[in-house]
Symmetry: D2
Subunit: 364 residues, 4 copies
């Protein structure tokens, strides 16, 4: 298995011109495309249609090249598009391709390996509860195993699009009567997905997983999960990125857990461990090595950061999600020297309160 | 002359409780208060009434302690309140006091000295034109001279509230006929104030000052100016901060010119020159030395930062001024380790396009 | 008792110049001022400081004229300031004065009478529960009685600032354990205040008042209540406006219940009953008779209005409260012909879902 | 020629399900579709991608049914999509179909006839100048003639997508030197298109058309134009709607000029002239007759409406375009009783300052 990654700037959500060029020039083989992670310039909220617009453009492009329907494209390739390019964050995509299978023989060095899979279908009653956490953990473990990593510590990034199973009014009423109200919504689905990753990688122990801990006990979290959730999706799509001796290529991945959205120390630590040590900001040479930067941001719900009050949660004109993406985007860009960074928001059980995971992929 | 500075967090725009405490406890003598620079949590725009609310509270407080009217308070103390605490920027004020006059004898070390003054009254026809630049330069030079600095390089921060003289419809019409249209507005007033500072400190040469260069030739700029403008004000209020051998105390000031709003290198350079050298972020000990951080931000009008597209100027939901304050605030806070940083926007002739001045005051 | 009302346009939240003029000219006697209801041009949300700014200006003005402290002004005069002048809604205040007491002898005609009072102090555990509803009803009945109205149908407008009693963490925990979680918040306080009015005026029956009906059973509502709530206030301030044979003057009041925020039929009905019948829009002559227009608006929580989808609740860039004020303000102004209309939002148990009360005061 | 119109609610910008149903059921013949005018739920600004998303869906649908490419669909059918469904305005489209050609023999009654055409290509130097006005007028006259109307008064609605021809830096520089700066932008293109309509229909006289009157003399305007402009388009697309004795069907159109965005009198007048007279609001029966409501809104640039200050132009949190659409949408919906109304903004030379044209299509 050889993974390659292509960072491509976009001029609008529907811009696939450069991706198309890469395909035409033979730089990217459309058959090898595994997943596309990117930022589109909407507001990241309920009335953000830029993700759908981008999806339309991607589906149409790959439909043409692969000779399959749009629906088949969406089933074959994992698209993780996050709306909201606040402040300096620049609209872009990272296209991941995979050629060949996982190697039979271990190599000396570890290289980036990517595995894709999904959970079984969930009942609405399982979402946001122990069942979702455990099945998510099971599915992740299976994918991780396929990558032949040395240990769970080689897993650095798990991107998930979580299930939010539809339900009827009757099911909701029955659940209330059973004293087990439905949790089939964004918040709980993201939270349970993240805990699933934490469980799979032994970041938390099985005994901590209880219904009343989910979205309640914030001491439990994953440092590698990056979860969204999609209403109507009845299973969870999972992308696992890890370093494996059974992968070739010239990419490696590392991660860290940001203590808060100003935590540059952890950014430097993640870079240093990737062999990219810098004083203040990466040099132009070093920047070329960075293929992808993926983080989760959150306006600290305690209204405090570094001991001082912030106003992100009490400003009724601008969403705290937009603010926190703007802040972390600026901080990461100030160290990396590149504004094509992927920041998504809402980080239930993703790192400590007010913090979140950061993963960086670099060329060796 | 001994200057002291007090950084005070505020819980709302009208919060003067801690300032009042300091006065009651004898920490601050209200007679010594020279100026107050601070951030209030509005939107920084035309419908931002938080500055007025803060002014009301300050005027009432000092009116009580000094036994003078509110109007007299506003004439005696310089208030520079900037609306907009985006992202992590925390609402706060810095209160500057001065006791004693400039010394007769030079001391070994230079210390922070502050001088206050104003220009003569301007005609509306002079605003944004050579006349405003030259008179502003003259007034600044006079203040600088009073501080007995070794050279212009000891001047690090010039805060100005610029004139926007009122005019009649007839005056505007006449000016149009004379082919010298009135420029008595925010943009031109700020630009001319900044060029006045640049001229006073020999950052530009007198021959560069032409009407058609103002708000046109962006290669001309000051690295120490921080200008706002106030409709109806017919003169410009000026605060000059410099290091002088004729000042006592334990504060020093330094500045740098940010190349863009991600420019952490310059932040580190300014800190290092203040004797506060750090790797990535100030330590808790070092943070205690920082008394004030003052910067100007601007969304690069070329729509590009670090070679990539930004969307700050094409987002019709959020003002670019709010974005750029959020970005620079986050970047400064990530290095300083403190979110009580003063960022104001609109930086015509304040540093290069897309960049701006940064001044830091620290304890020795 | 003779009530007079003065509609005054404001040029900013702190503008009291015209009110001051009226006092100086003897048109308004500051001793007679009973309450001031007005719109300020903020966003009506948590970071709207325009109400505080206006309060500061009012308190200062009356403090000067009445020779009492600001705090005493705030206790003596009821101020109901609502932030948010969206669309055409024009910033303004209506100043109500009262001279003389309620008459001993009934007159032929009914005229506007105003009574002011308050509830007892509430425990945090009582807010949003039956206790608050019943005590609010009791206090209203007392005020209504003092106005000597013929029947409850003569009461047309009850403006309340409701209690949100502070509580300790321990009290909140204990309440949870007692299975009676605290409801000391905006939503429940407004809801209980409105139900208090409904109970006092027999719009609902006592048996309907149960803890689990409050903010749950939306069929219960008042058609005359207009409630806000203020964190930290431990009692509810009440202003009752009614037509009474024991009042003099030339003002009368009427109300109606808007079915939705487009319901012009009810606007016309309320006007007609006031003797102001018009075809489409009031004539200039008729407009002069209108002294105050007070309404509550709400974006229909079912996402539907007149059978079609609205997007007010799914637009993450603009608050639904701003939208609904903009819509109802436009609709009222299009009939009244005057944009100085008072619309406030959040209407729990104020009229049917998606609708709300409308009161109009006119000169006979 | 028989024109039919179908008002279709959409559940999102890309929703073409109901349109698809109508085609499948034979209600709409895709070959007959002439133009689609609709509202999508973006912000109507530069970062509104909902129009592009809707276009994608329409092009794909018609591409499938007509067996032509997307580009050909866009050339064949006129799409006028306006972003921004503020307040109660409900996302919807109106699909216009035409079967048969203009009749040879005049009929007794006039019926809605639609003609489509375009101007020649414009040079960038012609945009916003006399050349654009005159060529637009010429093209409109040609289309009007083809509809065999009795007089210009039978023309009630001219929807245009105006040219904004691209230009090089050199061309812009040369134009400046020639003292004829380029006006190839939104404002001037819309203004010149509207004046073109005014000229074609004798609403203004040819002698009034001068370069310095365009976007300057607001007394010149059209009462039937509804113009947008599209960067990069080098010609203007024109749809003319008129009543003609040479058209069949059951639709008629009428228009009026709103004096301001609260002008319900004109709404009633337009309805009455269509034979739909109502007291306050249309009955359910009357509502069924209304097929399309098309208007232009503008926040009065003088900051005054009905003699009072409005804050739409000084609110830095919400665009005045969003406010004015919200206001006029609410006002129209309050009379029509239907929230599927088409309001677009920016109305240079469209009706008097602060007002704009209103066209209504109804079944006889």
């Amino acid at each position: 298995m050889r993974v390659e990654a292509f960072k491509i700037a976009t001029s609008s959500p529907s811009d696939v011109a450069q991706l198309d060029n890469y395909i035409k020039q033979g730089i990217i083989d459309p058959n090898d495309v595994l997943c596309i992670i990117g930022k589109t310039e909407g507001n990241g909220g309920r009335n953000d249609f830029t993700r759908e617009l981008a999806m339309t453009a991607f589906e149409e492009l790959f439909s043409k090249y692969l000779g399959i329907s749009r629906t088949e494209v969406a089933e074959r390739i994992v698209f993780s598009l996050s709306g909201g390019c606040e402040g300096v964050v620049s609209p872009h995509i990272v296209v991941f391709t995979k050629s060949g299978n996982i190697l039979q023989e271990a190599r000396q060095e570890k290289r980036l390996a990517i595995g894709i899979g999904s959970t079984r279908k969930f009942q609405a009653s399982e979402i946001g509860r122990v069942e979702q956490v455990e099945e998510t953990a099971r599915a992740i473990k299976e994918i991780v195993a396929s990558l032949k990593v040395d240990s769970a510590e080689d897993v650095h990034f798990i991107q998930m699009k979580g299930a939010i199973t539809n339900y009827t009014y009757q099911e909701a009423e029955q659940a209330l009567k059973d004293n087990k109200p439905l949790r089939s919504n964004m918040v709980y689905s993201r939270g349970a997905s993240a805990l699933g990753a934490a469980l799979a990688l032994d970041e938390i122990s099985a005994k901590d997983i209880r219904d009343d801990a989910i979205c309640q006990n914030w001491d439990l979290y994953s440092g590698v999960a990056s979860c969204s959730a999609k209403p109507g999706l009845d299973h969870t799509e999972i992308v696992v990125m890890a370093n494996s001796r059974y992968a070739e290529g010239d990419l490696i991945i590392n991660h860290g857990v940001l203590e808060d959205i100003l935590d540059t120390k952890t950014v430097h630590k993640v870079l240093t461990e990737l062999g990219i040590k810098c004083d203040i900001c990466l040099t132009a040479e070093q920047q070329k090595k960075i293929v992808g930067v993926f983080a989760k941001s959150e306006a600290d719900p305690r209204n405090i950061i570094r001991g001082r009050r912030h106003t992100m949660l009490t400003d009724d004109d601008i969403s705290d999600t937009r603010y926190s993406r703007s802040v972390l985007g600026a901080v990461l860009a100030s160290v990396i020297g590149d504004t094509a960074v992927y920041i998504s928001t809402r980080a239930e059980h993703h790192g400590p309160l007010g913090g979140g995971p950061l993963a960086i992929i670099a060329k060796v």
